[in-house]
Structure formats: structure tokens, C-alpha cells
């Protein structure tokens, strides 16, 4: 490995909303797409397993809907919003490491929002970055 080769610059798209548990949600109309943040994938390291919900499952904001496991740790997934699961990313069953290579575009599930007002309670990209900075003491 050359120096700096893995010195990835983490990025947090400005049109996403974030949770303090390190999920992101991108909303298009009444449907939200959910994944985990670049910070989360980097902290976990090599991801080997994603436990997905089923289509039709009802999610509640702030509640656990699945988990993601790396070689060294397991981390619960918390739903950013309430709603009904309309799609899950089946690709992650065979290739969970896709989250490591691009956390921002590798989605985990799509959810039909039952209360769009919940979005205002989530963090903006800038707020999320500030939150991480505080968490890590940098």
C-alpha cells in the first residue's frame, strides 16, 4: 500500500438527510431510499453481512430494522423514518462489501414514508459532519 492510498475523503451528499446512528435517506416524492454513511462503513471496516427487512415490513422511525456486520463488529440499523418497505437491495446478500466501496449510492432499502414531517427532525449533511467531528474529537 502506498501512503495515502486509502486516505479517502468522506463525503456526505447535501441532498440527503442523516441520523445520529449513521444512516442516510434520500427522499423522492413519498419514497425514501436508505443506506449507511461513509463514516459508518469506514468505522465498521470490511462488511460481510447485511440483515435486510422484507418488502411490506412496517418501519418505525428510530427503531431497529436490520443489522450490518463487518469482520470485527455488528451494528444495528435504525430507520430514519416511519413507513412501509417497498424494496430491498438483494444485491447486498451476495455482495455486502459494495457498501464499503460506495456507501452513498449503495442503498439498503426503499420506504414509503407515512409521515414526511419526520424528515425535518433529521440532520442535514453539514449538521451530520459537525456531529461526527464532535463524536471523534477531531
Amino acid at each position: 500500500m502506498k501512503d495515502g492510498e486509502n486516505a479517502k475523503i468522506m463525503s456526505y451528499p447535501a441532498d440527503y438527510k442523516y441520523t445520529k446512528e449513521h444512516e442516510w435517506i434520500q427522499v423522492d416524492g413519498a419514497v425514501g431510499t436508505v443506506g449507511i454513511t461513509d463514516y459508518a462503513q469506514n468505522s465498521l471496516g470490511d462488511i460481510v453481512f447485511v440483515e435486510l427487512p422484507k418488502i411490506g415490513d412496517v418501519l418505525e422511525s428510530g427503531k431497529i430494522f436490520g443489522s450490518v456486520e463487518s469482520v470485527k463488529a455488528v451494528s444495528d440499523l435504525f430507520s430514519p423514518v416511519s413507513g412501509t418497505v417497498t424494496a430491498v437491495n438483494e444485491e447486498l446478500v451476495g455482495a455486502p462489501e459494495k457498501i464499503n466501496s460506495d456507501a452513498n449510492t449503495t442503498w439498503i432499502l426503499k420506504v414509503e414514508l407515512s409521515d414526511a414531517a419526520q424528515l425535518s427532525g433529521l440532520l442535514s449533511a453539514a449538521d451530520y459532519e459537525a456531529f461526527i467531528a464532535e463524536e471523534t474529537g477531531h
Partner: protein, 380 residues
């Protein structure tokens, strides 16, 4: 966190690890790299090529003087009288009840001179224990040399070829668990030991612990191994490598509440020795029919990853034990664990369950170790 970091101990390579963008963690009070480029890549580099680890946090106690052999043999369960100069063996220091103070590697430097390599997390406890147990014995001088060495582990099937470029010593003459002194990276009298904690061929070298020397040797090893794809490896890969090879980790498979027979390490306890701390208890345990529980290897049958501390149960959900170490095995590509279970459940192929966050997930007992390095093919 910033305050805590300030009190963590650092090896001489701390700045080097940060240059490599290592993820650093608090490991038993030490600020150590858990991974650099990624745990799986690091693990595979050691299984298929070569990797380098900074293991300078390990401690080193020297026992010297005409009474040193008697002291080592009183302190450690293996029989150091069997060692020749330049030879090392696995051993352990026990409490009088036959449980573990620590597991150690005893090196016989020469007659009347032994070096005991101990774990990082137990350094202070071990040094105090050594002094309390054998300090009164005649003709032995105890030195704590823990801070004198930068200890580097160069591990993997390409370890020999990598290190050979940096030394005039013919490494092929050093047998497994033997060591010698030689010139490495221009440094004289570097201890070169064919030891490690990965289940792979490799060496541990002990160089002076000043920062410039440590950083230079680290860099030269990386350069020498570049053609074999060497990468720096962290404690994460060190843990999964030793788990695949079923090597014990203090605080997990061995501790002050687990005895030698339970841990399956009875072959290193030489009960024929006149005396050693813990012997009487081991003799008693053996006379009583052996241990009631045993360390077993588990392989998950159903989907799920067993982790340290998860309960182990029978298939009907009765809790019978606990996982001591569990993880995905990056080389074997299975989810494996070691666990203590009552002896009646310890037979190979026994089906058990691991409770993973409230769910019973099926696993089976498999022989240990999970991984054995391939035997070298000798062409006639």
C-alpha cells in the same frame, strides 16, 4: 476521547502507523493499529503472501543467573530444561489453582539466561507475579526488558524470502520455534525468532526501540516484501488469523477462571516436573477425571456470526456455555467460533446453537484448529 488518547501508551512506530492511515484503537491501554488497508486484505496477505505487524506492546522478561532455569521451571508449566540454547517453547504461568496468569513463550538465550515473552494487557501483572513467585529464589535476576525492543512480526509463506533480503543469516537454518542473532538492516545482534501468532510461517524480530531505528526497519521490510505484496497488518487481522489457527488469547480462551485442561493445553503442562506453581491443582483435576467443560471449535451451520460473549445453547435452547472468540474467518470463508461447553457436548459433529441477538442459530462442533498451514511439498 482526546484526554484518554493522551494517556494511552504508544510503541515507537505510532507515528508510522498514523502515516499509513491506520485505524487506531485502545488495546489494553495501548494506542495500536487495528487495521490499515482493510482487515480481510491484511488477513489474506498473511495466508497467501506476507504481512508485517508491530507487536512491540508485547512484554519481555529476562531471568538471568545460575538459578534462572529453576526459576523458569517453577514459574512456567512447560519444562524449560528440555530447551537448548536458541530454542523457544509455548508455556504458561499459572495460579496455584491451575488457571492462567498468562500464556508465554520461553526463549533459552543461553545457559542461565531466559527471555519470557508475555502479553501486552498483562504486562504489569506478570512482572509483579514473576517477582512475587521467584524473586526469593537464589541466583536469579529479573529484568523487565519490555520497553527495550520494537518487536516486528513478519508472517506468511513469503516471510522467509522477504526477511532474507535484509539479513546475512541463512534463515532456512532456523527451525520453527528456534531463534538466532544476526545482522538485520545493518543492525548487529538482532534476535530473529521463527515464531508468530498467525498459524503461518514467519519471524519475529527484536530491534532497538528508538523511533528512527524502528521506523527504518519497518520501512525496509515493507520495501523488501513489496514484490510479494506485503502490507502492514493490524490487530484485527492478527485476531482473525490466530482464531482460524485456534491459538488462545488471554481474556478469551484463557484467563484466571479457566484452567489448563479446560483450555486443551494440557500437553504443555509437564506434570512430571518436581514442582511448578499450579501443579498440585492440575494433578487433582486430572485425578478427579479431568475438566467438566472443554474448549471447542464451532462452525456456524445456519446464517449468522457468533461473537465474543454470545451464549451457546443446546438446540432446544438450554444455555450451556459461551463463545470466547467468534468471527467470520476471512481465509476459510466460514463463520467460526471457539466456546466453552460441558464435556458431554464437546464431541465433533455435535449440533449446538449460538444465541445471536435473541435468535438460536445452528452450529456444529468441529476439530481445532480450523486452519492448518499447508505442508511444504519436498520434491525428490
Amino acid at each position: 476521547m482526546a484526554e484518554a488518547t493522551a494517556t494511552l501508551r504508544k510503541t515507537a512506530l505510532n507515528a508510522t502507523h498514523r502515516t499509513h492511515k491506520a485505524k487506531m484503537v485502545d488495546f489494553g491501554g495501548w494506542d495500536m493499529p487495528v487495521e490499515y488497508s482493510g482487515l480481510i486484505a491484511e488477513h489474506l496477505a498473511v495466508r497467501t503472501g506476507v504481512g508485517i505487524f508491530d507487536v512491540s506492546h508485547m512484554g519481555d522478561i529476562q531471568l538471568r543467573g545460575p538459578g534462572s532455569l529453576a526459576a523458569v521451571n517453577q514459574l512456567c508449566m512447560n519444562d524449560a530444561s528440555k530447551l537448548q540454547g536458541g530454542q523457544a517453547h509455548y508455556s504458561a504461568m499459572l495460579y496455584p489453582n491451575g488457571t492462567f496468569v498468562d500464556d508465554v513463550v520461553v526463549h533459552k538465550l543461553s545457559d542461565n539466561d531466559y527471555l519470557i515473552v508475555i502479553n501486552a494487557g498483562t504486562r504489569e501483572k506478570d512482572v509483579q507475579w514473576v517477582r512475587s513467585q521467584i524473586g526469593h529464589m537464589p541466583g536469579v535476576h529479573v529484568n523487565d526488558f519490555s520497553d527495550y525492543y520494537t518487536q516486528l512480526a513478519i508472517q506468511g509463506p513469503k516471510a522467509v524470502e522477504t526477511l532474507q533480503k535484509l539479513t546475512s543469516t541463512d534463515l532456512s537454518t532456523i527451525k520453527n520455534y528456534w531463534f538466532t542473532w544476526g545482522q538485520v538492516c545493518g543492525l548487529h545482534n538482532v534476535m530473529i525468532a521463527r515464531t508468530g501468532y498467525t498459524g503461518e510461517d514467519g519471524f519475529e524480530i527484536y530491534v532497538p526501540s528508538d523511533e528512527p531505528t524502528s521506523a527504518r526497519v519497518w520501512a525496509e521490510v515493507l520495501e523488501a516484501g513489496a514484490e510479494f505484496g506485503i502490507i502492514p497488518c493490524g490487530l484485527g487481522a492478527r485476531n482473525t488469523l490466530r482464531l482460524e489457527s485456534a491459538m488462545a488469547l488471554y481474556g478469551h480462551e484463557i484467563s484466571e477462571t479457566i484452567n489448563v485442561f479446560e483450555a486443551g493445553l494440557g500437553r504443555y503442562a509437564k506434570l512430571e516436573k518436581d514442582s511448578f506453581v499450579g501443579k498440585a491443582a492440575l494433578v487433582e483435576i486430572q485425578a478427579a477425571g479431568g475438566p467438566k467443560r472443554k474448549l471447542v471449535g464451532l462452525e456456524m451451520i445456519d446464517r449468522g456470526i457468533a461473537r465474543d460473549g454470545y451464549p451457546v445453547a443446546t438446540l432446544d435452547g438450554t444455555k450451556i456455555g459461551e463463545v470466547t472468540s467468534g468471527s467470520p474467518a476471512p481465509f476459510l470463508k466460514k463463520n467460526i467460533a471457539m466456546a466453552y461447553v460441558p464435556v458431554q457436548y464437546a464431541g465433533v459433529d455435535e449440533e449446538l446453537a449460538v444465541e445471536i441477538r435473541g435468535q438460536l442459530v445452528k452450529a456444529k462442533v468441529v476439530p481445532l484448529p480450523f486452519y492448518k498451514k499447508p505442508k511444504k511439498v519436498v520434491l525428490a
